[in-house]
Each structure stands twice: as structure tokens, then as C-alpha cells.
């Protein structure tokens, strides 16, 4: 069997605040195999970004990894020193951050934020690094890159800044790319272009990808496997094909149902009833139980364990066998099936 490139085991990360302890990650398990594209999906605040930050150990000051392991090429990153981590970040694991503006230094030219780091990590001269940077910027659709590389970030639109970050991460040729919502600020045409670039890079350089996104269309198009997060835990793991054709966890189905369809005129949208779980005093038992239509007494008492229900299919739900796929979900499934088929 192939060894995983990245294996996150029972990761628990808490934040300490005045109003209490935020149990942001409560036993995350996640694997990424070499060359694989893994999607991480889940609603706002469920712990996607903090999982990535825990992997790279760049948590905010009030955050702490309480327990668990982050095995990268078999080595646990959790006990590593800051100096050792600096050798991992960028070169081994590169990340495209969710906030394009804050991850670019506003008072430094784009060139100053790309060339040095490329020269360092790829061991090339400054001139070569500049060429690589311009090439990467052009590849993500920044026109006139040779000139614009010497401008400051505020001169670029939101979508352009995001593409600059993508260019910078890819130019480092990492083994694993963590992309946190890389296409949210992009319109559909450029989104497609950026996805193509990521795909190409993957093939050319055997890049593995951990793609954090709420866009299920992007997930369908780009990933091999998906981890569905809910309230700081993992609800379901399966191949992308299985997630879209035979979702098993009630939350996964609710998620599919709430995708807005183009066929409905101006009007109200379907939402998952109830509210996103609090992470200070989170719901007992299964964290989804207050919003789940299959919930029974057991759900508020016992935490459902992540179990392999079929080869390669993991579900954390007490009543997974009772779950049915609704008509709305069926429709969404139909529309995404095509994309996945095209891919394989």
C-alpha cells in the first residue's frame, strides 16, 4: 500500500478566549496520498482553515494543539521546532491563504514578495527567480506581468491578488499544496483558468492538493476524495464520486440540498434548518444532532465514531443506514455526476 503523504490523526486544537474555550478541532482525521487531490468541505466556522493552520503550526497566539499527530512523510510535525518547521513551509507544504490581502504585505512590491522566496526555496539566482515569477503570474492570467510585478498589492483587484498568491505558491514547487478557498474571489471564466493551472501543475510536478472550499462544483471537478467537516469533526470521508452519487451522512445530504440552482427565479433559498453549532459548549453527542432529521435519543448522548462502512467509505453517524436521499439532493447529484464522469 502507498504510504500517505500527510496523515492527520485525532487532532485536537483549542482556542482560549475570555468567553471560554473554543473547541475548534475535536479529533480531526485526514489523509492525503501522494499526487492525490483531497477536498475539505464544510460550513463556515467548522474548522477547515484551523486544520490547515495546525498542520503548518501557524495558529494564532491563543490557539493550541492539545493532542494528536500530523504525520508528513511519516514524520510528526507537532513536536517539531520552529526552525524545522520553516524548512517544511513553502518548500514542502505551500499554502494559499483565504485572505488575499492580508497574506500580501501591502507596503512591499509584488516582486519583492516573490523573487527572494523563490530564489531561496528553488536555489536559483535572483534573475532566474524573477523570470519564474513573471512566468507564474502570466500563467494565472495577470496581463503585462513583466511590468506589473513591480507594483504594490493595492493596485490589483481582489481576484488578481488571489491569483498572485496562487502563482507564488506554485512557483515554489511544493510536494503538497494547501489551497484555502483559492477561487472564491474569481469569476467563472478565470476560476476555470486557475483550476486548469492547478490541474496542470499537479500532473507536471506530482503535486498533492488539499483543497479547502465550500464550492461543491469545484470539488466535483478537481478532487479525488472528499472529507466533509462538521463542527470541528469529520462527518464523512469518501471518494468524490461516492460523495456525489451516494452520500451517506445526513449532513452531506443537507449540504447538497442547499446548492442554489440556476432554474429558480428570485426567491428564497433552502437552508439547513437550525444554526451552525457553537464551539464553546458544543452540542453533546453528535454535534449535528440538533439539526438532523434522523436524530434519536442516542445522538445527543453518544459521539458517533468514524467507521469504515464500505471499503474506503468512512461515516460518523449512528443511523447512517436509515438515511435517504431526497429529490432535491437527487437533482444536484444528477448535475454533478456528469462532471465527475468526465474526469475519470
Amino acid at each position: 500500500m502507498v504510504e500517505p503523504l500527510l496523515e492527520v490523526k485525532d487532532l485536537v486544537t483549542y482556542f482560549f478566549t475570555e468567553s471560554g474555550i473554543v473547541e475548534a478541532l475535536d479529533g480531526i482525521n485526514l489523509t492525503v496520498y501522494p499526487k492525490e487531490s483531497v477536498g475539505v468541505v464544510g460550513e463556515s466556522g467548522c474548522g477547515k482553515t484551523q486544520t490547515a493552520y495546525s498542520i503548518l503550526k501557524i495558529l494564532a497566539q491563543n490557539g493550541k494543539i492539545m493532542s494528536g499527530q500530523v504525520l508528513y512523510k511519516g514524520q510528526d510535525l507537532v513536536p517539531m521546532s520552529e526552525a524545522e518547521m520553516r524548512r517544511i513551509r513553502g518548500k514542502e507544504i505551500a499554502m494559499i491563504f483565504q485572505d488575499p490581502m492580508t497574506s500580501l504585505n501591502p507596503v512591499m512590491k509584488i516582486s519583492d514578495q516573490m523573487i527572494e522566496i523563490i530564489a531561496m526555496h528553488r536555489d536559483v539566482s535572483e534573475e532566474e527567480a524573477r523570470e519564474i515569477a513573471i512566468e507564474a503570474l502570466t500563467a494565472v492570467g495577470i496581463s503585462d506581468a513583466a511590468n506589473r510585478i513591480d507594483e504594490y498589492p493595492h493596485k490589483f483587484s481582489g481576484g488578481m491578488r488571489q491569483r498572485i498568491l496562487i502563482a507564488r505558491a506554485l512557483a515554489l514547487r511544493p510536494s503538497l499544496l494547501i489551497a484555502d478557498e483559492p477561487t472564491t474571489a474569481l469569476d467563472v471564466t478565470i476560476q476555470a483558468q486557475v483550476l486548469e493551472i492547478i490541474k496542470e501543475m499537479k500532473e507536471q510536478f506530482n503535486l498533492a492538493l488539499m483543497l479547502i472550499t465550500h464550492n461543491l462544483g469545484v470539488v466535483a471537478e478537481l478532487t479525488d476524495r472528499v472529507h466533509i467537516f462538521y463542527g470541528g469533526r469529520v462527518a464523512e470521508v469518501a471518494s468524490t464520486y461516492d460523495i456525489f452519487t451516494r452520500p451517506m451522512h445526513p449532513y452531506t445530504i443537507a449540504l447538497l440540498e442547499s446548492i442554489p440552482s440556476l432554474d429558480v427565479e428570485k426567491g428564497r433559498l433552502a437552508t439547513i434548518p437550525g444554526s451552525v453549532p457553537q464551539l464553546i459548549n458544543p452540542p453533546s453527542g453528535c454535534r449535528f444532532h440538533p439539526r438532523c432529521k434522523y436524530a434519536k435519543e442516542k445522538c445527543s448522548k453518544e459521539i458517533p465514531l468514524m467507521e469504515e462502512k464500505e471499503p474506503g467509505r468512512f461515516v460518523a453517524c449512528h443511523y447512517w443506514e436509515e438515511v435517504e436521499i431526497s429529490d432535491i439532493a437527487e437533482e444536484v447529484i444528477g448535475s454533478h455526476k456528469n462532471k465527475i464522469k468526465q474526469k475519470t
Partner: protein, 334 residues
């Protein structure tokens, strides 16, 4: 047209609006201007009271810049912005200025850099009320903040935290709550739900629609997700390289798409029903640079309909295809 009675319904009007950013080159002694980034280059548009106008167009086409000019964050290079008939860059009285400042709010595309990192969420959301409703008792103000937090799906205890302690989507919702706190008339919402998962996104869009019904709010809604635009907009304007190339009602834009650029844009949407799949039109060429805007029709280098003659020479005028549906193209799809 019955321009008089119609005028009463116009809340905001953009008249030949331009925003050019000078490109400077560092010389030996001083820097000199060598060119202009024509971010907004001749926009004419009316926004009606109580409507949602969707603004779409590719990255870098000038949507955010247009929004910033409207809320008075960037003065225009030329042209006018009229709010209730008054030029917002030359108000006569302080009252008019304050009225505008309160009633026209923006939800920013980049939620993090627009939130003051040293302020508590309570103060960020309550700031507008503190300025514009200075007599409001503190408890009442706090109650409004708590109500808003709940409406955008956050908790009371979030009020006592700083922006960096939130996830991307949570920050975006703080920005939304801040803009809505002062009960404005017009909200320029720049990609307000782009960082949100579909369910929370739906919750926010529903909230925005409820407030619109209750208070007759007007929205300019910038988004690149066309399914979102279709859900929220009464009218839609399509922007390309600093100018509006087509606008009309939601139905006109989505079912009678006329401008070749709009057609290309629509074709890139993943369709929910595979049977009605359109052929994806991939735009050839690089995204154009707003520094060197192509001659004639600025879309011609990437247009599948360009005749390589008139399109290169003449800037097409804005024509009305049917009542309310305007397009700027020599050969619109009919």
C-alpha cells in the same frame, strides 16, 4: 419616456463615470505619469429605489472601483454620482453629507482588511450607530448589535472578540452586520457571500431580502457567482473593461442574453441540468489590460462575432433592444 415620474424612482445615478489611476514611472529626479489604468471608463447607470441591481463581470473589470466611487471612498476622475438627485461630491450642507454617509453603506470584498484589528466586534458593528445615533443609549445599541449577530448566524459572545479570532466566512458576516446596523437606504455589497458555504450563504441572502422588503432597501450586488446574481437581482448589469456592455431585467439578461461577452459569461456557468448544457465558450486571448484599451468595441479582440472592421473602428453605441434592455454591441444576439 415618462422621464419625470421615472426620475422619482431613481435613487442613484452614475453619469459618464470615470476613474483612472495614473501609472507613474520613477525617473532620475521625479516620477512622471506615463499612462492610466482606466479602471472605470464611462459608466452610465440608474439604480431604482428598492431594487437589487446585480453587477457582474470578470476579475479586474472595475466593479469594486465603481462601488468605492459610489460610497465616496475614491473620487471619480470625471463624471458624476447623483444620490437622490444631488451630486455626492458637492453636497451643500453638512446635513446632506451626513445623511449620505449614513444611508449609503458598503460591504467590502476583503472582509479582513476592512475590519479594524484593534476593535472589538461590538464596537465595529456599533460604530455607525455611535456616530449617527449618538443619543441612543448604550444598552439599546448593544441590543441592536446582538440582534444583528444572531441574524447573520453568529453568537452573542462573538461581540467581545477581535476580528482575527474569526474564520473567513465569519468575518464576512461581521462586515455585513456592520453595513446593515445603521439601517441604510443603499448598500453596495461587494461579493458579500463569496466566502460562505451554500447554507450560510442562503441564510445571508434571505436576510438581505427580508430587510429589503421591510425597509425598501436598495442593493447594488457585486458577485461573480451568476447563480447568486440570478437569485437576488431584479436587474443585472454586465461590466467589461471599465464599462457597462449590457443591462436589463434579470429575465432579459438570463434568457435573452444579447452581448457576446455576456453570452460567453453565461456559457461558463455549470448547468444543473445536463440536458440543457450549453457549449462552453472559452474567451480567446489574455484578459485585456485596462491601460491599453482596445480600439472600437473594447471587446473585439476576444469576440466570436467581431467583423474585424466596424468592431475595430467604431465604439458601438448603447442601444435599447426592447424596453429596459440595453446592449453596447454592433451585432447583438437577438
Amino acid at each position: 419616456m415618462a422621464s419625470e415620474s421615472e426620475n422619482e424612482n431613481v435613487l442613484l445615478e452614475l453619469r459618464d463615470l470615470r476613474k483612472w489611476f495614473p501609472v507613474k514611472e520613477q525617473g532620475f529626479i521625479a516620477s512622471r505619469q506615463v499612462a492610466n489604468v482606466k479602471a472605470v471608463d464611462g459608466v452610465n447607470l440608474q439604480i431604482y429605489k428598492g431594487e437589487t441591481l446585480g453587477l457582474v463581470g470578470e476579475s479586474g473589470c472595475g466593479k469594486t472601483t465603481t462601488g468605492k466611487v459610489i460610497v465616496k471612498l475614491e473620487p471619480p476622475t470625471t463624471g458624476q454620482v447623483l444620490y437622490r438627485g444631488q451630486d455626492i461630491y458637492s453636497f451643500h450642507t453638512r446635513e446632506d453629507e451626513m445623511y449620505f454617509k449614513r444611508n449609503v453603506q458598503m460591504i467590502f470584498q476583503d472582509p479582513y482588511s476592512s475590519l479594524n484589528p484593534r476593535m472589538l466586534v461590538m464596537d465595529i458593528i456599533g460604530e455607525g450607530l455611535q456616530i449617527h445615533e449618538s443619543h441612543m443609549p448604550r444598552l439599546q445599541r448593544e441590543q441592536i448589535v446582538y440582534d444583528l449577530l444572531e441574524k447573520v448566524g453568529l453568537e452573542d459572545y462573538h461581540a467581545m472578540r477581535y476580528p482575527h479570532e474569526f474564520s473567513g466566512g465569519q468575518r464576512q458576516r461581521i462586515g455585513i452586520a456592520r453595513a446593515l446596523a445603521v439601517n441604510p437606504e443603499l448598500v453596495v455589497a461587494d461579493e458579500p457571500v463569496s466566502a460562505l458555504d451554500v447554507s450560510v450563504q442562503a441564510q445571508i441572502l434571505n436576510l438581505m431580502q427580508d430587510l429589503q422588503k421591510e425597509f425598501n432597501l436598495t442593493y447594488i450586488f457585486v458577485a461573480h457567482d451568476l447563480s447568486v446574481i440570478k437569485h437576488v437581482s431584479d436587474r443585472v448589469a454586465v461590466m467589461y473593461l471599465g464599462t457597462i456592455v449590457e443591462y436589463g431585467t434579470n429575465r432579459q439578461i438570463f434568457t435573452k442574453t444579447a452581448h457576446p461577452y455576456s453570452v460567453a459569461l453565461m456559457s461558463a456557468i455549470p448547468r444543473p441540468d445536463p440536458r440543457r448544457k450549453m457549449k462552453r465558450i472559452v474567451l480567446p486571448g489574455e484578459p485585456p489590460s485596462p491601460i491599453n484599451i482596445p480600439s472600437g468595441c473594447r471587446f473585439h479582440p476576444r469576440c466570436y462575432k467581431s467583423d474585424n472592421d466596424k468592431c475595430i473602428k467604431e465604439d458601438p453605441p448603447m442601444i435599447e433592444l426592447e424596453p429596459g434592455h440595453f446592449v453596447k454591441c454592433h451585432y447583438p444576439e437577438m
